[in-house]
Amino acid sequence: MRAQTNLVALVLALVLVTGAAVVGVAVADGALAGADREPLDRHAATAVADRLVADGSPTTVRANALDAAAVAELNASRVEALAPPAEEAALRIALDGEPVVERGAASGGATVRRSVVVVNRTGNARRTIDIADGATGRVPRGVGRAVVDVDPGPNTTVHTVRADGRVVLHDGAGLDTNATVHLFRYEPTTVRIETDPNATGRVAVTYPRRVVETHTLTVTVDA
């Protein structure tokens, strides 16, 4: 009689152990699915962020400095052309939370953040210098290139235009030209004209006015 009771207990025990094994397999299944951190998503997000922010990219002025005009024109197909891993994937690119490019629902994908500045070349500022020997005008800091337009009056020869002592335009026979010169970006520049006494006319220095703002670029990709 006791042997039979024991057998019943044994069967019960085996059933319990089977149940535990089934639960264990289910947990393992769940753990395996949860461990899938989608490395390809992360690669796509990193690649898109790198291409958007790199020096030499069509969207940047220099490394980590986005061009505001290029950013305004950004759409999903341009992003795909820049970074092929983004093809046929849900995208979300945002600057400080404001979406710039959005395609599909990218909430389940990998996210990458970069620190960038956005450079806004909102048009040109123009400084006019009346021509006289030694006349100067000042270009503010942050300008690397300017267009110098020399417009001498009659009987006037402008020999040289200097930027901070460095000669940028020179013509012994007289300048009457519209040329692009390079300036030192890290300092305000003094533009100085050398000409004959009793000179007339105007020199116009035109340079892009830049507004620089910092933002955090967020790229989310769900392939």
């Binding site: 006791r2 042997a3 024991n6 057998l7 044994l10 085996l14 152990v17 089977t18 094994a21 397999v25 393992a28 395996l32 461990a35 899938d36 490395p39 390809l40 992360r42 690669h43 990193t46 690649a47 898109v48 790198d50 291409r51 790199a54 020096d55 030499g56 990219s57 490394a63 820049l82 970074a83 092929p84 891993p85 093809e87």
Partner: protein
């Protein structure tokens, strides 16, 4: 029942229990091995394959330096020798990185994101060999070679 028979009953009972338990364990192990284990192995191998591909692509993309006049970079990349006990191969095809593995679930491809300057990506990596990425070129045209 005689005394001797009464003494034998618990032994027979325990023996029966032991045999049943052994049979049960054996069948459970066989069921797991046959049904569940190969699936898990393939799933884990597919994950490792994905991760290896993503790591390789990341390293290749990171090895292209910023614009400069002359480029000559050689970088060694660490990849696992085998996935699921089989050697594999990574090929550069048409701007895409392809992982060739005997198990089709582990193979995969990922497009590479490289700057405009990179004219070509070529070469093949054998997983059990030394894997090196070379970037060569001048300011305008850059080649990436896997060897």
């Amino acid at each position: 029942m005689s005394d001797r028979s009464r003494g034998l009953t618990p032994v027979v009972g325990k023996g029966l229990e032991a045999v049943i338990v052994l049979l049960y364990v054996a069948s459970l192990v066989a069921a797991l091995h046959g049904g569940v284990l190969p699936e898990y192995r393939t799933a884990a191998a597919a994950e490792v394959g994905d991760r290896t591909l993503a790591t390789a692509a990341d390293r290749i993309e990171a090895s292209v330096p910023s614009p400069a006049s002359a480029v000559d970079v050689t970088r060694t990349v660490d990849l696992p020798d085998t996935i699921d006990r089989a050697a594999y191969r990574i090929r550069a095809v048409d701007g895409t990185l392809v992982l060739d593995h005997p198990d089709p679930a582990v193979s995969g491809r990922v497009p590479l994101a490289l700057p405009e300057r990179v004219a070509t990506v070529e070469g093949t990596w054998e997983s059990d060999d030394r894997t090196v990425v070379r970037v060569r070129g001048d300011g305008r045209r850059v080649r990436v070679i896997l060897s």
